[in-house]
Point group: C2
Chain length 349, copies 2
């Protein structure tokens, strides 16, 4: 019986125990030091307080200090901490993992280092693995944890440069409701996952403008923004060696859609579009309610990355007018309504 160890007991990590357990595997869920309350509730037989449901029977849970025990003999290790937590967590986890354990990560975002050094998470994590046989697998595509744990049909891509590994991991995790396409386009999937949070904020802004009465209804403009976002994402993916199919499929367009119509990044946009708080105030307001807004740093990281790609001649900066406008509205207090009203949705005009 394969053993699957999931690191991080928040929304997504805990939701992944469902397909893993439904496949009959031994499932272990390890919580970081931030997850103590979540783990305690599960151990006491209560609902997982975020998922609002009980985890599958037989899932073994571990507190932060039980990392070695959680990883012992694992066949597959799934990282489900945030993109900010992945480096510290995996630094601890690597020496405790079996050398040939498979690895998958659901973290979405870039690693942002000193001096504007921006990297794909795989490029930061893979070199820290003790085994030269380690391969990074990224899980991309539209997957809300609250739906996955209710077994609502979900389709994602498992991306690993070694497609055979993507296929093996997919085989372990696939169920009738958790459908998985193995792909070798790790670059494309990682870039899409990191950028969709930034662009989802654009759609949320219009929700805020509608609520503020600046515009009655703005489906036309939201659709234009969605199309422009996908176009800009396609340019970055191409520049970073990914495939266009990925952008126009579940990891890009599909994940952008779910993020743009539901979730915290949309909420961030809505609160900013309402016009009563600055972006920094919205972040503070949402943080105080335990709501992470990954899109907020993603806009800055994305804009810096695109500037660097432009310097190296990989993209034309003028093609990224939406990302630039998002940066201006979120980090430079550009007025939201005025910026979006005069925005040129059609390029080359």
């Amino acid at each position: 019986m394969p053993t699957i160890t999931i690191l991080g007991a928040g929304y997504m990590g805990s939701a992944l125990t469902f397909p893993a357990a439904d496949n009959g595997h031994r499932v272990r869920l390890w919580g970081t030091w931030l997850d103590n309350d979540l783990i305690r509730a599960v151990q006491e037989g209560q609902e997982h307080s975020r998922l609002q449901t009980r985890l599958p029977q037989g899932v073994e849970t571990f507190y932060a200090n039980g990392l070695a025990e959680a990883l012992a003999g694992a066949d597959l290790v799934i990282n489900a901490v945030t993109s900010e937590g992945i480096v510290p967590v995996m630094t601890h986890a690597f020496p405790l993992m079996p050398q040939d354990a498979l690895f998958a990560s659901v973290s979405k975002g870039f690693w942002s280092g000193p001096g504007g050094n921006i990297q794909r998470l795989s490029a930061i994590i893979a070199p820290r693995a003790p085994s030269p046989r380690f391969r990074y697998l990224h899980v991309a595509g539209p997957c809300k944890a609250l739906e996955l744990c209710r077994r609502v049909p979900t389709a994602v891509h498992y991306a690993c440069e070694d497609i055979a590994i993507a296929q093996r991991v997919a085989e372990l995790m696939r169920t009738s409701y958790y459908q998985i396409r193995p792909t070798s386009d790790l670059a494309g999937c990682e870039v899409c996952s990191a950028f969709k949070n930034a662009y989802a904020i654009a759609i949320g802004l219009f929700d805020g403008l509608e609520k503020a009465g600046r515009v009655s209804q703005s489906y036309n403009t939201k659709s234009a923004a969605f199309s422009k976002a996908v176009r800009e994402m396609a340019l970055v993916v191409e520049a970073m060696g990914g495939q266009l199919d990925t952008v126009f499929g579940l990891p890009g367009m599909g994940d952008l859609l779910v993020t743009a119509v539901a979730g915290r990044n949309r909420t961030f946009g809505e609160l900013l579009g309402l016009g009563q708080m600055s972006a920094a105030e919205v972040v503070e307001y949402m943080s105080s309610r335990d709501q992470l807004t990954e899109g907020y740093p993603a806009i800055r990281t994305g804009w810096y990355l695109v500037q660097r790609l432009a310097q190296r001649g990989k993209v034309r900066l003028e093609s990224f007018t939406l990302l630039q406008a998002l940066y201006a509205m979120v980090y430079e207090n550009a007025p939201v309504w005025e910026t979006l009203q005069r925005f040129q949705w059609i390029e080359g005009e």
Copy 2:
């Protein structure tokens, strides 16, 4: 001063008087015999009853019997009747139009003739034009009339095989809030416009399933359906000589989005997904409320077209599982929840 004559005084025809008038043109709005009440209200100085706003000052209105007068000296004629009305209306209009008048059409759909003969509207209309210099221009992309007439930023494609004509018409109609990209991909734009109504119903079905309590929330599946719809549309567009850029831009993905989250085709899907009426009953219910559901016939027309393309070796029928499932649910009473729950969103599994 150029004269622009708009045929059809419903939602879209009337909304187009706004950019036309804002550009300082002489604007004429002609109503079909179905539009008498709309024209009368406007002539009496009231609001347009569908748009719920007054038309711009100076717009001249014409009843059905004033077609010759409305078309006399027109520089641009815009067809804004339904895809079912375009043939009879243009049959009357052509002999009354100046030989060199420009032409644009906002009708979205295929022409469906006897014996399963399905054609792009341009292929049916262009041969009926008396002038050999006639060029068909199709307006594609996400554009809700209720927003256009409120000057909400909107971006569309004007598609004509002769790009110079697309540019000339775009020049006449473009405003700061009505942004237009001229394109020569008439085939791609027409196919996208016709298919998006069919696929939008798929998204609406989930809204119905949610309301019926069959599923709590289904953003994951809606996103998977959206991605699959775009993929299937891309295959038809390629088979019919259109460009992929068009599918992954405003005419395809963009228009599908606005149709899937708002509008009558989504409503049709929702009512069917609720599970209390058959598709035919939903059509009857909506018709009795003056609500046209273009997606209902579009599913049948689309499915027949794809079968014909497959017979000619242009597509593989197995690639169109979503369209086939839609056809089964809408025309063959296949159960909605069971069909969608076991649907394979990932191909080749």
